[in-house]
Amino acid sequence: MKCQECSDQLLAYLEGELTMDERNRIDHHLSQCDNCRVIRDEISNACQSLDKLPKPSETMAKRFSAALSAYKSGQLEGIRLLEGEQRKRTWIESIARNGYAQAAVIIFAFLIGILVSQSISTQETNGNRFDVIETELASLKEFTALSLLTQTSAVERLRGLEWLSELNLESEQVLEALYDKLNNDPNINVRFAALETLDAYAEKEEVRRKLVQLLETPNLPMIRAELIKLLVRHAEKDSVPTLIQISQDANEDETIRELATWSSQVLQQMNTDEI
């Protein structure tokens, strides 16, 4: 056996991928060749180092499949209609006709896959078009995030919430998903994360109204406590009747009752101050 033939098989040898026969031939060569033994040790060391590196998880591929099927399922029909050569050519032409050198650079960047960033969308002349693209991409991510919320792994669901909070979209579907996670997710961390994400939407009156409604439904005491605090933070005075009811409910958790009493007083106080 020549050295080249031996060294080319050393990885498979170390990995146990060779037949008994092939293995014996390598062993025989190694027993006589210092050079190949050095190479074997080098390959073995490199493999040991590689083994210590973090590995991408299998769920990463699942997530991408989820995104693909969301895309395929036609929920993104609108986006798909916007795609394709024809449309691309039209808007490129329309910008090109305007003759902005900067715009040309932007189109070039777009074509080679460099992505549209905030700095570009601030350009008044053609900002709108890029905003449209960013919005389309955001809805693609929204669908992916929503599909993550249906995964069995809590880590995946948290990831979905995290994506949603980054997107900060105000779609009905997102809000419904968040309410559902807040009330029904089996994992408490996911419920907390859903509440945290909803906090960002609580400026809206309808969201606060819904949260007051959810306060009337059963949930884990820790979640209820956070929900009450959120409503106080957002000065939601419409929650007062519910809070009073909770504070008087003998079946209610003692801490929650105390918190509800305190919160209803604080909110009523705010009320009089405003008047």
Partner: protein, 188 residues
């Protein structure tokens, strides 16, 4: 890639299989964060999905793909500088999270140690083709048969090619240690 451009979404799954490991390692080298690297990898492919129509026939797909990756990486750093903290890390630190797949959790020690940085550096010294097969075999732990399917080549040839690539990687590691003898005390 042209097929994907023409709307065959299944092709995108194959492209994902082919390049997700490389992209993940690309981001790991730069961020040292496992979940973040997975998210950024996903982000690259969402953009491939969204922008595949803009890929040119004669273009180099890998170049295009890593162009997107670099851009996402830059945007990520911009965001980091403007936002003091992202939710990502909050979740990472939650001890209470139910861990479904233990393999999801990277070896924290390994990801911080000096020889990890050196290894990623050595990997980047390999040609893209060699880096790809080393990552698939030794980081993603794919079988030669699986790799042969994804890359559309012969398993026996792959064994030799990966072996040569790992031997070359070992040489790069060696010379990198020589170049920076005091910074990498862990590697002897």
């Amino acid at each position: 890639m042209l097929q994907a451009r023409n709307g065959d979404l299944e092709t995108l799954n194959v492209l994902f299989e082919r390049y997700c490991g490389m992209l993940y390692s690309f981001f790991m080298k730069r961020t040292q964060e496992h979940s973040l690297s997975e998210d950024l990898t996903q982000e690259v492919f969402l953009r491939v999905l969204r922008y595949r129509a803009s890929f040119k026939d004669d273009g180099n797909f890998k170049g295009w793909l890593f162009g997107i990756a670099r851009n996402i990486q830059n945007r990520h750093w911009e965001k980091r500088y403007t936002k003091s903290e992202i939710l990502h890390e909050d979740i990472g630190n939650e001890e209470a999270i139910e861990i479904v797949d233990a393999r999801d959790q990277p070896d924290a020690e390994a990801s911080r140690s000096g020889d990890t940085a050196l290894l990623y550096q050595a990997l980047e010294r390999l040609s893209e083709e060699k880096r790809q097969i080393v990552i698939m075999r030794r980081i993603q732990n794919l079988s030669y048969i699986e790799m042969a399917r994804i890359l559309d080549c012969e398993a026996n040839q792959l064994r030799v090619r990966v072996c040569r690539a790992v031997a070359e990687l070992a040489k790069h590691m060696k010379s990198l240690i020589k170049e920076r003898p005091y910074e990498m005390p862990g590697m002897q």
